[in-house]
Amino acid sequence: MTDMSTTLAGVTFPNPVFTASGCAAAGRELDQFFDVTQIGGVVTKSIMLNARSGRATPRMAETPSGMLNSIGLQGPGIEEFLTKDLAWLEKRGARAVVSIAGGSVEDYALLAQKLRGHKAVSMVEVNISCPNVEDRGQVFACDPRASSNVVDAVRRNTTPGIPVFAKLSPDVTDITTIARACVDAGADGLSVINTLLGMVIDTTTMRPALAGLTGGLSGPAIRPVAVRFVWQVHQALPHVPILGMGGIRTGLDALEFVLAGASAVSVGTTVFGDPTAPVRVLAELQQALEQRGIARLADAVGLAHRPPETYVPERPDPVGDELVSTDVFEEHS
């Protein structure tokens, strides 16, 4: 039996399979399909200070092996979240990873304060893919300094010992600069990746299909991009734990992320088509590790970075150079 436990910045989770923010609400609905205490943790929908109505509909479009969403962070606000959602998770005994989102550094600081000392919080994920209202709506995650300021504010206001993970956007030229800025500002780990910005045009109305025009692309379509980002971040910062995500559908997909450098993974969009996916992915991942003779999940983290085995040719003597006469054969007509 492979030891599936994983330690993220000092906090040990029984296994590395989590839900993804915005793809599991606060766990209650999925608990109808599987016992949410059986997975590593429930990552909750990003919560803001105040209630948010989100964007107009249509909010989604299915795309090849993916989907676009433009929910616009609809949610009840942190107070109701604490009294309803987090209270439920606590009562249920699930490990809660609370995702927070804001429009200013101040927002993030206040959110972290609200969570401070709350026993049910196992980890905080900082969704920095939000427009900074103080900087012409420029997304925090696209700028190292803005990312750094947010992470610093959250880290300062979060219970010591509770890991703070910054969630990175893939829509950047150099993710390692942002990753480093977040870690330097106190991020204990990194969530990699959020959705890619995308768009679908409705060919009937000849207008963008989403009311919000653009949306976030998720699902297996983006998996190769996500794996690449996990690889790059792990290579640049090998000692920083990564929560990897983007299109995980099976245990072998999860294994790709682990081998690329993730210490844990989130299953997001797949849940929409397969509500029991997180427990299935966990079982499949465990089986895959066992089949490969890997005793501890931790031993597989980043394994794809090891140098390739020195190539031992099956038959060491090379083929002779002299050309064999071929004039016995006809030419092609």
Binding site: R52, S53, S65, M67, I71, P76, F272, P275
Partner: protein
């Protein structure tokens, strides 16, 4: 408490412009009430389509030779329903259900008018049966584009005290919309309650007619859904709550059945400025 069941198609048959699919899905029938829906996986294991498709539950059988079955009716709309239309008996079909909030039944034996548009009639037929069991008078109005899209007419006639039919092209019944004949039906039947399922424009018209007469009305809406189980927030529409406040509520778990006069029909597809959490101008 919905279930995810790796089901098998027992039968799939053409019914006018629709197809009716019966799936062996043990456990689901026992939990189902009229107005519940199913979410069906489409495209097979290597499909590029990730999301389930939602269909109202038409009929359920608790037990049969093959175990419990659940039936739904669909028309081909896009890629997923095109795939579904190619299935044959014996094929696997993964279904999640029953989902959503079903119709609430009247407490007493009142007069009920049901209004169905196209395949929207499907969930109204088991509702009619339940209402008859309670001793309600049941009048049914069916509308569709043409007669091949009038689902369940025979069943309706068998169960209802009266059936009125409208088609857009006049191929059956009155040429026109259900809203053209509904007022007369409500008057004649002395309706206490209205239930409707069909296109959004029809639900809106029915709601308005019922509201104008002060008749309570339940409608089963249809919004684009990514998950069907309440975790994604794609399926929202503006609904007025008990407290008078408008919220963007999930039609998959707080609906699909809503009180007609609680839905802000004018504002569907927008976030009304007075909705809870709406962006400040």
């Amino acid at each position: 408490m919905p279930l995810q069941v790796a089901g098998e198609i027992l039968s799939i048959k053409k019914v006018g412009a629709y197809q009716a699919v019966t799936v062996i899905a043990p456990g689901i029938p026992e939990l189902t009430r009229p107005g519940h829906f199913l979410a069906v996986q489409v495209g097979g294991p290597e499909s590029s389509m990730l999301l389930r498709r939602a269909f109202a539950i038409y009929d359920v059988k608790d037990r049969g030779v093959y175990g419990g079955t659940v039936e739904f009716v669909f028309s081909v709309h896009g890629k997923g329903t095109a795939w579904l239309s190619q299935r044959r008996a014996g094929d696997k079909l993964d279904v999640v259900g029953p989902l959503g909030k079903p119709f609430r039944l009247p407490k007493s034996a009142v007069n009920v008018t049901l209004v169905g548009g196209g395949y929207g009639t499907a969930p109204l037929l088991p509702l009619a049966a339940a209402l008859r069991e309670r001793g309600c008078r049941v009048d049914i109005v069916l509308g569709a584009g043409g007669s091949d899209r009038l689902f369940g007419l025979l069943d309706a006639k068998r169960m209802a005290d009266s059936v009125a039919v409208t088609t857009d092209d006049g191929s059956s019944g009155t040429r026109g919309r259900v809203s053209d004949v509904l007022p007369a039906v409500l008057d004649k039947s002395q309706a206490d309650v209205v239930y409707a399922c069909g296109p959004m424009a029809m639900l809106r018209a029915v709601s308005d007619i019922a509201a104008a007469r002060g008749i309570p009305c339940q409608v089963a809406v249809e919004e684009s859904m990514a998950c069907g189980i309440g975790v994604c927030m794609t399926c929202v529409l503006p609904v007025v709550g008990e407290d008078g406040l408008t919220r963007m509520v999930r039609s998959c778990v707080e609906g699909p059945v809503f009180l007609g006069d609680r839905v802000r029909w004018d504002d569907v597809g927008t976030v009304p400025a007075d909705a809870v959490g709406a962006p400040r101008a």
